[in-house]
C-alpha cells in the first residue's frame, strides 16, 4: 500500500519535528498498538505507557521509513520491542493475571484468566505472534511484515506458539 498524499505530507512534517502532524500519523494506529501492548503486558496503564514510549522512539526513526512502506507493521514492531524491554525490567516480575477489564457476563472468566496466565508463561516472541494472530486478527503476511520475516516463517512461528500454549490451556486441534 503506497502512502496517500496526506500521509506523505504528515510524514514530511513529522520528520521536521511537527508533533501535531506526527500525532495525526499515529491516530489510526493507536488502537492496534494499544491492543498489542495490552496483549503482551496485560495492564492498561503499562500498555499506554509502552505505546507512548514507542511513539517517541518511532519518531526518531521516522527518517528510515521508505516510501511505499506501510506504517502499521513498522510501528507495531517498535511497540513490540518496547514491550519486550518493559518485561525485561527488573521490577517486572509479577505475573499479571487480573481478570479482563470489561463486562464479563457472557464470557468464561476462568478460561480467560487461564489463557492470560498461560500467555504470560510463554516467551515474549511466542506471546507476540499469538497476540498478533488471534487478538489483532492479522493475516500471516501482515504478521510477517511486522516481524520482518517471510509469511511462511510467520505461519511456522504461530504454529509453534500454539503448540506451546496448547498443553497449558488444553487447546486442541490447531494445525501443527
Amino acid at each position: 500500500m503506497l502512502f496517500n498524499r496526506d500521509e506523505s505530507e504528515l510524514i514530511r512534517a513529522a520528520r521536521g519535528g511537527d508533533g501535531s502532524a506526527y500525532a495525526e500519523l499515529l491516530r489510526p494506529l493507536y488502537q492496534g498498538a494499544f491492543r498489542l501492548a495490552y496483549g503482551l503486558l496485560h495492564d492498561s496503564t503499562e500498555a499506554e505507557d509502552a505505546v507512548q514510549e514507542a511513539a517517541f522512539k518511532a519518531w526518531r526513526k521516522l527518517g528510515n521509513v521508505r516510501e511505499g512502506s506501510r506504517l502499521q507493521p513498522w510501528f507495531l514492531g517498535i511497540v513490540a520491542n518496547q514491550c519486550r524491554s518493559v518485561s525485561r525490567s527488573p521490577w517486572w516480575s509479577v505475573v499479571k493475571v487480573d481478570p479482563p477489564e470489561r463486562e464479563a457476563e457472557s464470557i468464561d472468566v476462568i478460561g480467560a484468566v487461564d489463557l492470560r496466565r498461560a500467555l504470560m508463561r510463554l516467551g515474549h516472541d511466542e506471546r507476540l505472534v499469538l497476540v498478533l494472530r488471534y487478538y489483532l486478527d492479522m493475516p500471516f503476511d501482515e504478521i510477517a511484515s511486522t516481524l520482518g520475516v517471510s509469511p511462511k516463517a510467520a505461519r511456522t512461528r504461530v504454529e509453534r506458539a500454539v503448540h506451546r500454549l496448547r498443553p497449558i490451556v488444553q487447546i486442541q486441534g490447531a494445525a501443527v
Binding site: 496503564t45 488471534y134 520475516v149 516463517a153
Partner: protein, 335 residues
Amino acid sequence: MDERLLFERFHEALDVDPRPAAYERMRSALIKSTSTPRRSAAFHMRWTKMGFRLAAAVALVALAAIIGAVIISTHRVAQNNVPAGPDAHTVAYQRLMSQDDARMALSTSNHCNDISDTGCPAAAGKVTATLQLWLDDLAAFPTPSQFAVADAEMRLHLNATIADLNAAATAVTNQNAAELSAAIAAALDESGWIDDMVTAITTRHAVSKAVYVQFVRSEKASLDGCSDCQNVVSVTQDPCPGSSLLTCRSLTSTLSEFESELEGFETGLVISVAPGSIAGLDGTLRMDLAAADATLLDMIAATISGDWSRFNADRNAVGTELAGVDRDSSSIIGA
C-alpha cells in the same frame, strides 16, 4: 479447538479498550515534546527458535565442522575483504536453499498432534526423507565461502529436525504423550530456525558500516539484557527438582528464549554483508555465535536425556562462548 475458537478465546481473554482520552494524552505529550527526529539505522528484524532433540554425537561432530568451516571462512574473508557478490554460484546456492525449503513445506501435513494419530510415523517419515534430500543437496553443492558458517549450522539444524521427527514417530508408537509433545515442539522450533536462516541466506546484501555496527550494538544490548541467557549460564543445580527434565517447562522455556536471542543475531549477520574493514571481526563473531548455538543445542539434548553432568559441561562452554561473542561485539562497536 479450531482456529476460530482460538480467535474467540483470545478476544474473550484480552478484549479491552484504552482508558478514555488515552490517545489524546499521548498526542499532548508528543506536541509538548521538543523531539528532534534523527536518522538512525532501521534494522529491527527478530526471529525466534530452539530445538530439543539432537544426538550428542551429531552435535559434537557438527560443532567441529562449524568451527572448521568458520576458520576457513574467516581466513578467506580476511584475505579478501570484499565479500562475494551475487555471482552465479551464489545465486544457484540461494535458489537451492529456497527450493529445498519449499519442498520441506510441501512435505509437511497436519499430523502428530496427539498419540492417537496412527498416521504420524508415516507423515514424519515423509518429512525426514525430504530433509535428508536437502542434506544430500548441500553435500553435493560446493558452499559459497560467505555462507560456510550458515551452511554448517543449517546441516546441524536439519539433522536435529530429523532427530525430532523420528522421536515423534517413536513417541506415538510407544504412546508417550510427553515425549511426543516435546519432540513436535522441537521440530517446529527447528523448522522455524531453518525458515529464518533460508530467508537470511536468500536476502543477504551489503550494508553500510554504520548500519552494521548499529545492528551489532542492538543485538549486544539485547543479549546483555537477556535474563534467560544469564540464567542458563549461571544455573548450577537442577531447576526442576523432582520433575522430568523432558517436561520441565521452566528450563525448556529458558533455553528457547536463549536460542531465540542467538538466532536473531546469527541470521542478522547472514543478511548483512560486513564492510571490508571489519570483515575479519565479523567472521570471528559469527564463529563464536555458531559455537554457542551448537553448544546450546547439545544442552537441549542433555535436558531430554537427563544428563546433568553433560548439561553442566555445556553450560561452562556456552558461558565462555558468550564471553567471546561479547568481546567480538565490543571490538566491532569500537572499530
